[in-house]
Subunit: 137 residues, 2 copies
DNA sequence: CTGTATCCTTAGGGATACTG
DNA sequence: CAGTATCCCTAAGGATACAG
C-alpha cells in the first residue's frame, strides 16, 4: 500500500517493486486472458486467493493506475474492474512469463492454441487482446 | 526452498511460483545485463540485497535449474554463477518487464541506447545477449 | 456481491557476526 | 571471497466472520 522510496533507479527493479509478488500478475491475467471483471470472479480463480489479499492487491493496482474501477451500468451495486492503458502495456510481460511457464511446466492446462498463437504470432495476438479489452474501456 | 504443490496448473501461475518475488529477477538481471558472475557482485548491486536472502535465492534458482555454479578455472576458490538455457529463456520476460518499468518510471537510470535497442530491435537484442552469455557457458 | 475486520501463523527479510 | 548462522521484527497470507 505504501512504498516510500525506491531501492534503486533501475527500471527492472521498479517493475518488481510494483508487481514482484505472486498474486498481482494473476489478477492481471484474469483481466487480460480470462475476461474476468468482478471481485467474485477473481476470488473464484483456481489459485484461491483470499479475500483480504485480493482487496489489498486491487487497491495497490488501482493506486498504480494499472486497473480502474467503474460501476456496472446495468446493476448499480456491481463494480467492474478494467485494465487501464498502463495495465494493457503489461500484456507483453504477462505473455512472456506465461510462455516461459508453459515451456517448462508441461502439465499446464492452458489451451495449446493459445500458447502457440501467443508464441508464433505475438504481435497480432497482443493487438487483438488490446482492441478487445479497449472496447470495454 | 520447498514448494510442495502448485496452486494451479496455469502456466502464468507456475512462473509466478518460481519468480514471483522482488529479488529473483534482479539476480537474473545482474547475470544477463550487467555481466555479473560472483556472489560479491550480486551483493554489491544498488538494491542492497542481504546476504541471507541472496544465498536463499541462489539456491532456489539453482534447484530450478535457472542458474548453475561452476568453479573459476583460474582461482579455485572462486565460484562462478551462470544462466542455464532455461535461465536464458527468461530474457524475453526480463526485457519486457524492464521496458515497462522504463516507460512508467521516467527517472530510471538505464542507458537510453539499451532501452531503445531492446524495444525496437528486440529479437536481435535477445539473440545478441544469448550468444554473448552462451560463450561463457 | 463487494468488500472490511480480526485472529493467528508463517515467511520474508534486515543487521550483523562468524567461518573455511 | 563466499557463504552460514542467528536474532529479531515486520509483512504476507490463510481462515473466517461480519457489514453495507
Amino acid at each position: 500500500m505504501k512504498r516510500a522510496k525506491h531501492r534503486s533507479d533501475c527500471p527492472t527493479n521498479f517493475t518488481l517493486e510494483i508487481l514482484g509478488d505472486s498474486w498481482s500478475l494473476l489478477i492481471i491475467r484474469d483481466l487480460a486472458f480470462k475476461g474476468k471483471s468482478y471481485y467474485g470472479d477473481f476470488l473464484d480463480s483456481d489459485e484461491k486467493i483470499s479475500t483480504n489479499i485480493l482487496a489489498n492487491r486491487l487497491n495497490m493496482l488501482e493506486v498504480e493506475r494499472i486497473i480502474k474501477k467503474t460501476q456496472d451500468p446495468n446493476k448499480k451495486s456491481k463494480i467492474i474492474y478494467r485494465l487501464t492503458n498502463k495495465g494493457l502495456d503489461l500484456l507483453p510481460t504477462l505473455i512472456e512469463a506465461t510462455l516461459w511457464g508453459a515451456k517448462y511446466y508441461p502439465k499446464h492446462n492452458a489451451p495449446k492454441k493459445f500458447i502457440i498463437r501467443a508464441r508464433d504470432n505475438r504481435v497480432e495476438f497482443i493487438k487483438e487482446i488490446r482492441t478487445k479489452l479497449k472496447g470495454k474501456i
